[in-house]
């Protein structure tokens, strides 16, 4: 296939994905914004004012990058897992499978569509955060890079979850039992300096900690971990998940008989 055809296929999938989540915006864009606004009000303003400083910043300033990242992670994941599984469930995925579109383009289209939702929600949450506190981004390039790569990583994870899923229950198990605990324990609400050495060590096994801290470093200039490791980790996971996703697609796992 020539590059024009490939680009057309990719942009068609991407456009359809964006059209899907914007068509159902009350389900996809509004709820995360409301949830995050409540976090800002409760943890940032009401409780945060009694907590005092964390990492040299007010609690509101500290928690905002974490909450933005949490919104990006959960929305990137949930968009693709829901969209691709629905396509499997309704069999509309066959529209793509019978077409000449290469597997990597199908995966890239779904993943980038999901990244788009994660970034849009992250952007809106950032705008809301600005009504609670002022944000001065310390390292703009690093901030944009880590948020984008994190969205890609969790979109890939959601895509693989959707491939394996056999029911709608299967697409909520990972977000409920894996993603949410890792996110809440991933330094969104606190610095791991507050933990005992044992739990600090355990926390460092949590990949989300690195992403949240790298983003916080980009915004505030402080981090619990070495930011380089965050980038290395994210890139390695992206490479692994991309390879796994393509392997599953090429073997038609739960897509072809």
């Amino acid at each position: 296939m020539n590059s024009n055809v490939i680009w057309t296929s990719f942009s068609t999938i991407l456009r359809r994905e964006v059209r899907r989540f914007t068509r159902i915006w009350p389900q996809t864009l509004v709820p995360p914004v409301i949830t995050m606004s409540l976090y800002f009000v409760i943890f940032g303003s009401l409780i945060g004012s009694r907590i005092g400083e964390m990492g040299g910043y007010s609690y509101m300033e500290f928690v905002v990058p974490g909450l933005i990242m949490m919104a990006v992670i959960t929305n990137s994941y949930s968009n693709v897992v829901s969209s691709f599984y629905s396509a499997k469930f309704q069999r509309s995925v066959e529209e793509l499978l019978v077409s000449p579109t290469p597997n990597w383009i199908i995966m890239a289209g779904y993943v980038l569509g999901s990244v788009a939702r994660g970034l849009i929600v992250g952007f809106v949450v950032t705008l809301i955060a600005l009504s609670f506190t002022s944000l001065t981004v310390q390292h703009i390039g690093l901030t944009v890079a880590i948020v984008f790569l994190t969205a890609v990583l969790f979109s890939l994870a959601g895509f693989i979850n959707a491939i394996f899923a056999n029911s709608f229950d299967d697409i909520s198990i990972i977000p409920t039992f894996v993603l949410t605990p890792l996110t809440y324990l991933g330094g969104v609400f606190y610095s791991i300096d507050l933990l005992s050495p044992l739990f600090q060590g355990l926390s460092k096994l949590n990949p989300i900690l690195y992403m949240v801290n790298a983003f916080r470093y980009g915004v505030l200039g402080v981090s619990d971990i070495n930011v380089v490791w965050a980038f290395v980790g994210v890139l390695v996971f992206i490479a692994l998940l991309s390879g796994w996703g393509l392997h599953l697609m090429s073997h038609g796992k739960r897509l072809r008989h």
Binding site: T8, R15, S86, S92, E94, P100
Partner: protein, 312 residues
């Protein structure tokens, strides 16, 4: 001439050990209107699934207009359009978007995809429904939507798996007219159907598949010539109390105005009418008791079952 579709020794065994295809072979020539018939579970949908990449073959070769799917599946897919048996589009998307988006999947520039979408939605009577979500369409409209979607890249080979299932007679006939038109324009069509009347009136060649084997592969004309007997129902003007003398023909009285007569190969209908006329009986109308292809279809499958029982 390169076959539009060539299938050689195609086998499929599913993970549970069920052998759906046992090495079938057949060719479909360019421009043909070809029927692939068989009872439920015979292997028709598996064959179509392999051709369009939704099912992985266990062995054998498939080529579309000379392009081997093992060597260049994307190239082969550009020439192929498939209308599946089950509805397989997003129920929440608009009709226009479903068709136009499919053009994008085939790498068509947006403008061309829009032009073709307009063309096929109009031809298939769906233009008024273009902004309606697919779930709001009737069953017949959904089938036509899938045909429009399959035609968006104007494939040279179109495969329709039970396209008229559950469609009312009027709509079925309008779909036949449409399919005949695109066949005349050069599109090779392969049709699976349970309506044997449909296959008889539309298709020129036929393959009958049963339990993963090809039972018959010939032209419909040749197949119908093998019919050794036909059973007719004759309606009479006169009231009959007993079955009249039918000479060499076998028959019986169905009711006081109709006779069932079996005509063996070589017997003449003129002889039958002359005999009846001689007894003062006027035949006002006649019809086959069952579709001729249906009779052959049933007898071929019965022959196969008997042969298998004999082997056991």
């Amino acid at each position: 001439m390169t076959a539009a579709l060539s299938i050689q020794d195609l086998e499929k065994t599913y993970d549970n050990g069920f052998q759906a295809l046992k090495g079938i072979s057949f060719d479909v020539q360019p421009g043909d209107f070809f029927a692939l018939l068989g009872p439920n579970g015979a292997g028709k949908s598996t064959t179509i699934g392999i051709i369009c990449s939704l099912v992985r073959k266990s062995a054998g070769r498939v080529s579309i207009f000379g392009i081997d799917i093992d060597k260049n599946f994307p190239g082969a897919k550009q020439l192929l359009g498939v209308v599946p048996q089950e509805f397989n589009f997003s129920q929440f998307e608009k009709v226009y978007d479903i068709v136009c988006t499919q053009g994008g999947f085939y790498g068509m520039p947006r403008k061309l995809a829009e032009e073709r979408t307009t063309k096929y939605l109009k031809q298939l009577g769906l233009w008024d429904k273009r902004n309606v979500q697919a779930r709001m369409l009737s069953g017949g409209m959904k089938r036509r939507l899938m045909i429009a979607r399959a035609l968006i890249h104007e494939p040279q080979l179109l495969i329709l798996d039970e396209p008229t299932a559950g469609v009312d007679i009027e709509l079925r006939r309008s779909m036949w007219t449409f399919l005949e038109k695109i066949n005349r324009q050069g599109t090779t069509i392969i049709l699976t159907t349970h309506y044997l009347e449909e296959a008889e009136s539309l298709c020129r060649n036929i393959a009958i598949i049963d339990k993963g084997d090809i039972v018959e592969n010939t032209s419909i004309k040749s197949l119908l010539k093998t019919l050794s007997r036909e059973v007719f129902i004759l309606d009479t003007a006169e009231t009959l109390e007993t079955c009249p003398d039918l000479g060499d023909f076998q028959g019986r009285l169905l009711d006081e105005h109709s006779l069932e007569v079996t005509v063996e190969k070589g017997q003449s209908l003129t002889e039958l009418f002359t005999g009846l006329g001689g007894q003062g009986i006027t035949v006002t109308s006649m019809r086959n008791r069952a579709n001729r292809l249906e009779e052959l279809f049933v007898s071929l499958l019965a022959d196969k079952s008997e042969a298998e029982e004999g082997e056991q």
